[in-house]
């Protein structure tokens, strides 16, 4: 055989030629990389085959990192504006300043604000390098502000995807168990198709699954990434997924009766008895929710009765009230979602809904088991998944819940072959046992996550109160990111809700919020109100027009991060295989005066006199113990803190020096970690009992301020509720717009990467508006025509139309976050469509539960005449 062997990795080659291990951060997928450096110049980035994160392979973005690193348009020196006037396209008149000048000015303002009310400082950072955010997690509490957001308020991140995945799977998102799943129902989501969390690893695993014969059905307005690889593409009207998923749930529960009864009894709150007021009937002594014990014919607390004896149906008299198990309420509730009803809403034929449900039910193989590494486990090789797309609607929470309910009904949750929360359980670093986490039963026996990416876990949520957070998340307690930082109503609401302070200063870390949230005019107004903005950036982007001091960041090839893949629920491959722990380290020298942002933050804390508080916060965030704890107001470099973090977790002999050389260490997962569900006594809510009460509490505070909470969103039972776009019935407004993440781009900044831009220019979709061919021809449009989209509120964008058969006749598909206009990103400028210009940022367009912004719009299409 003359086969070529797998690549040889030269660990440390001769002088002037080396491969340095680190971590990619062109997106938050954080694959492990090796950077080839020759005579001081980085000449190649490859995947690191020693790591399970990416397995030595990178996507198109990852291999293109050097074009971003060496881009001559990078900001290389600190700069200060000389023109006090801020506005879109108004030249700030940048002048170069020294780091000392920059830091002194920022620290001076920090000091003043901190003395007045530290909450006047708001901090926002880009999701692209979300995993590099640990220094911020120390800076913000060290300073004393809770106003921290990712990508700006109202960021289109998976508010509901994370929340509901957390509630039902103790993870940041869900995936099919690619290694064993036989039938995957994708409601949108390009998991395994080059985007999002675990991007590369998923691609490999999904390809294995396809080759193995996993059937994949993709429900999506557009047949692009995942749908292109599906066995069946089911086109659906934009934003109506919940109607389809609930019809499928109805078919499962009421037509087929294919239900995993033991699972529902043991792992959900289905047996919990619900009284006439819709709340749990509780044990008088312990206050635990009661279930009906069919063996003893009495009500018992859920944690006392044997789950197999719990009733799922029936009507009982307990504590003097008539009550029913929540499951039967759900089952009855689902009856209104007939496939015929869903067909009208979704355009998916009723017969297809029945057929797909029957296929899903059959493949779930309820009752079967399988042995993995000697452990006998439930085997449910069917999964229904979703991600950011379907929850980017006003019905965000229910949309996501409706899909995940399919898995719950057939017991396909975190068992072999099923829908998985990825890496929800981790036994800890083998030698030290550190960092481990497990989902566990919390209040009312419902599941609490083992680990989480945000401050507050999805369950239990705090009580709503009169808000003191700018985003009102302490009022809308189910929310994570919030539009009220920047929304139309923001100031009015703060006023009416007696917000004790106003935002005065913003520190921005790489987020380009002029583009990342909604129409630019609204965001511009909110940015103008701030007294001072300091921003760490790679490029002068659209948001820079409003910034006072720009600080050049070294970017991902110049930074330290000890936890690029931790917690594992964020971006670490799911399924059986290895755990890997990699680090991120500087591999190239700065080209100019760029600095590691973490060191800049430490400098600022020192100059603004809160270093000891920041050190204390570091100790808490990293859980530093013993000798590794940071002391008092001693100033540490971030490199030293990274060393402490690693030694704290891996032992003294495996500090930063060890990881710098080694790059990554790996060890095998156990079946109990991967298929953890059978090993926990935690239950998950299929009936959200707390919601109506929560809604009322919020209404009591928000109502008087003029913000009425529509109670149907706070129902205990999941529903389909339409978007504002579905209610738009103006003449000629006949297309629903939606955006998707292009595989070639991460958020908005990669459009400046000349290689990625070139590839996107060649792609038929990236920089165009996808429209159904027949729909286009009917309107006299030809492929390549310049068209204008206009919303009922008069917001407009222009772009070239690409006519394709691969899209729903009512949908217009647009790749997100293109259409830059900043001169500081000349490669990106003018390429593609700035989708978010079409979006409003107001109460009418957010999910009233968790404040997710609705990302679809109804538009009128017209051709733009060209000379």
């Amino acid at each position: 055989m003359n086969e070529i062997k797998p690549p040889r990795i030269v660990e440390r080659a001769p002088e002037g030629d080396e491969w340095i291990p680190s971590t990619c951060n062109l997106c938050y997928g954080t694959c492990s990389i090796l950077v080839h450096k020759v005579d001081g110049v980085a000449v190649k980035i490859e995947g690191n085959p020693k790591s399970t994160v990416g397995k030595g392979r990178l996507c198109g973005k990852g291999v293109s990192g050097l074009m971003t690193h060496y881009d001559p348009n990078r900001v290389r020196v600190p700069m200060r504006r000389t023109n006090p006037e801020k506005g879109i396209g108004i030249d700030p008149g940048w002048e170069e300043i020294s780091w000392d000048e920059a830091l002194d000015e920022i620290a001076g303002r920090l000091k003043k604000i901190r003395a007045e009310d530290p909450r006047k400082l708001s901090i926002q950072r880009t999701t692209t390098v979300y995993t590099m955010g640990l220094p911020w997690a120390a800076f913000a509490p060290g300073f004393g502000t809770t106003n921290v957001s990712e990508g700006g308020g109202g960021l289109h991140c998976g508010n509901s995807a994370h929340q509901v995945s957390g509630l039902l799977h103790a993870s940041w998102g869900v995936l099919p168990d690619f290694q064993y799943c036989n039938y995957a129902l994708y409601f949108g989501a390009s998991k395994g198709h080059a985007a999002g969390h675990n991007s590369n690893s998923n691609m490999g695993q999904a390809a294995d699954a396809r080759e193995r014969g996993m059937k994949m059905v993709v429900i999506d307005p557009m047949c692009n990434f995942a749908a292109a690889k599906a066995n069946e593409w089911v086109p659906i009207r934009v934003g109506t997924d919940a109607a389809l998923a609930l019809a499928m749930c109805n078919v499962l529960a009421n037509e087929l009766g294919t239900l995993d009864i033991p699972y529902l009894k043991a792992k959900t709150n289905g047996p919990y008895l619900i009284g006439p007021d819709g709340t749990y009937v509780r044990d008088i002594e312990t206050n635990e929710p009661l279930v009906w014990d069919t063996k003893d014919s009495i009500a018992k607390p859920h944690n006392v009765a044997d789950s197999e004896d719990m009733a799922l149906e029936g009507e009982f008299e307990v504590n003097g009230v008539t009550c029913q198990p929540s499951f039967i309420l759900l089952k009855e509730h689902l009856k209104k979602y007939t496939p015929e009803y869903a067909e009208e809403i979704t355009t998916v034929p009723a017969e297809n809904i029945r057929r797909l449900t029957a296929e899903f039910a059959k493949e779930a193989r309820i009752g079967s088991t399988i042995v993995i590494d000697g452990v006998t486990l439930p085997y449910r090789p069917a999964a229904a998944i979703a991600f950011r797309g379907l929850q980017g609607h006003r019905n965000a929470t229910f949309n996501f819940l409706a899909v995940l309910l399919l898995n719950q009904l057939v017991g396909a949750a975190d068992v072999v072959g099923s829908c998985h929360g990825f890496n929800s359980a981790f036994d800890g670093i083998p030698e030290t046992g550190r960092m481990g986490y497990q989902p566990k039963a919390g209040p009312d026996g419902l599941m609490e996550v083992g680990t989480w990416m945000a401050y507050d876990p999805p369950y239990p949520r705090p009580e709503p109160k009169k808000p003191e957070e700018m985003g009102l998340q302490d009022l809308f307690v189910m929310g994570m990111t919030s539009p009220f930082f920047n929304s139309k109503e923001g100031e009015e609401l703060w006023e009416k809700l007696d917000m004790p302070y106003r935002p005065e200063m913003l520190i921005n870390y790489g987020a380009n919020i002029m583009m990342s949230i909604a129409n630019k005019d609204l965001i511009a107004e909110s940015l103008k109100k701030l007294d001072f903005i300091a921003s760490f950036d790679l490029f002068m982007n659209e948001t820079s027009d409003f910034v006072d001091i720009i600080l050049p960041d070294r970017g991902y090839l110049g930074c330290y991060n000890t936890r690029p893949n931790s917690p594992y629920i964020f971006s670490h491959p799911a399924g059986m295989g290895d755990w890997s722990w990699a680090i991120q380290q500087p591999v190239v020298e700065p080209e100019g005066k760029e600095r590691i942002f973490a060191d800049v933050l430490i400098d600022l804390a020192e100059r603004a006199d809160f270093l000891s508080d920041m050190n204390a916060a570091f100790n808490a965030v990293f859980d530093l113990r013993g000798e590794n704890r940071l002391q008092g107001d001693k100033k540490y470099s971030y490199e030293e803190i990274c060393d402490a973090d690693l030694k704290n977790n891996f032992g003294d002999e495996r500090g930063l020096e060890f990881f710098k050389k080694e790059g990554v260490i790996s060890w095998p997962k156990t079946p109990e970690e991967v298929y953890w569900r059978p090993f926990t006594d935690a239950r998950v809510p299929i009936y959200w009992e707390w919601m109506p009460e929560l809604g009322k509490k919020i209404q009591a505070i928000s109502g008087p301020a003029g913000l009425d909470v529509p109670m149907e969103y706070y129902s205990a039972l999941v529903d389909y509720l339409p978007c504002a776009s579905h209610e738009c019935d103006h003449d000629n407004f006949d297309f629903y717009t939606f955006y998707y993440r292009d595989t070639l781009h991460t958020n908005s900044f990669t459009m400046e990467n000349a290689w990625l831009d070139e590839a996107a220019q060649l792609d038929p979709y990236s920089y165009n508006i996808a429209m159904n061919t027949q729909s286009g021809l009917k309107r006299g449009l030809e492929d390549g025509d310049l068209i204008q989209l206009e919303t009922a509120k008069g917001r407009k964008v222009k772009g070239r139309v690409h006519l394709t058969q691969a899209i729903h006749p009512e949908g217009l598909g647009i790749a997100a976050l293109c259409g830059h206009w900043a001169k500081g990103m000349p490669v990106a400028e003018g390429k593609g469509i700035f989708y978010n210009e079409l979006l409003e940022l107001d109460w009418e367009n957010v999910n009233p539960v968790n404040l997710t912004l609705d990302l679809c719009s109804k538009v009128k299409v017209s051709r733009v005449e060209e000379n």
């Binding site: 070139e758 220019q761 060649l762 038929p764 000349p826 490669v827």
Partner: protein, 305 residues
């Protein structure tokens, strides 16, 4: 940040049927000039030699020199042009290079034996005879090679037709006649009725027309979408004006009508017009058919029609 040429390339790569610009635009335009000049020169040399027009031979030689120069300008690396002698066994371009070289050397030797140039090598010498033969071989090679270059271009289905070389040879002969007619006309020499030149021109033109019809019909009926696209560009698209105006009207209709003598008697000036129009027509034939080249799109086999 970007150049027109690069933007054009990106646009081309995006389009389903990508027009070839390699031999059409920028320095590539010189290949069209080169092929035009070399074809006319080769035909002109042979015809002039046959009909004994020394002036025609000189004109042909000069045209060939220009043609050779145009070929060099077409190269991005002209300093390496001699490398093109290396692959005559397989490459028609290499053979063409040899043909042109033979012609240039042969023609020079031939001229140097002619009294008009003072015959430094002596009249009727062996060298002269060798030069004569070499130039004839060179001309024949030049006439033939071009068509075969196109036929061998598998990326451009329109050119793949086996008729292409025949068409090029016919055009070279026709161009040769035109050169001769033009020379005679410019010299104010009467075209003797016995020469049969005009009849020959009409005959070859008839062949050219038949070949065109066959070529277009063949491309249309081949079922090859790419070739059809080329025909469409030629007859109804971006090249129609050159094809109808240049190749058909100026190159065929005008001289054909003039040869009948119905509009004006066949004076020397009318003959010059016939020759010139014919040559311009030849140019547009090459211009339009080379530019009509469209790359074969890369598709899955079952998507190919």
């Amino acid at each position: 940040m970007t150049s027109a040429r690069y933007d054009q390339l990106i646009n081309d790569l995006k389009s389903e049927y990508r027009p070839q610009r390699e031999w059409a635009e920028g320095r590539g335009a010189f290949l069209i000039y080169g092929h035009f000049l070399v074809g006319v020169a080769a035909g002109g040399w042979l015809l002039s030699r046959y009909f004994g027009s020394f002036d025609g031979m000189v004109l042909s030689y000069l045209l060939a020199c220009l043609g050779g120069l145009a070929h060099l300008v077409n190269l991005a690396r002209p300093e390496r042009a001699l490398n093109m002698m290396l692959r005559y066994k397989t490459s028609w371009v290499s053979r063409g290079f040899w043909g042109l070289t033979f012609f240039m050397i042969g023609g020079l030797l031939y001229f140097l034996s002619r009294s008009e140039f003072g015959a430094p090598l002596g009249e009727g010498s062996r060298i002269s005879a060798a030069g004569d033969i070499l130039a004839i071989i060179g001309s024949l090679t030049m006439m033939c090679y071009m068509g075969f270059v196109y036929t061998a271009s598998k990326g451009i289905p329109f050119w793949n037709s086996t008729l292409h070389p025949v068409l090029y040879i016919a055009y070279a002969i026709r161009g040769g006649i035109a050169v001769l007619v033009l020379t005679l006309a410019l010299r104010g020499q009467e075209l003797g009725g016995e020469s049969g030149l005009l009849e020959l021109w009409i005959g070859v033109t008839a062949v050219v027309i038949v070949l065109w019809v066959l070529e277009i019909q063949g491309a249309v009926s081949s079922g090859d979408e790419t070739a059809k696209r080329s025909i469409n560009d030629l007859l109804a698209g971006r090249l129609a004006v050159y094809f109808y105006g240049g190749t058909l009207l100026i190159g065929l209709v005008v001289p054909l009508v003039l040869t009948t003598g119905t509009i004006a008697p066949l004076s020397a000036s009318i003959l010059a017009v016939i020759g010139l129009a014919s040559i311009i027509g030849d140019f547009f034939m090459k211009y339009s058919s080379i530019k009509a080249g469209v790359y074969l799109p890369v598709r899955l086999p079952h998507l190919h029609r």
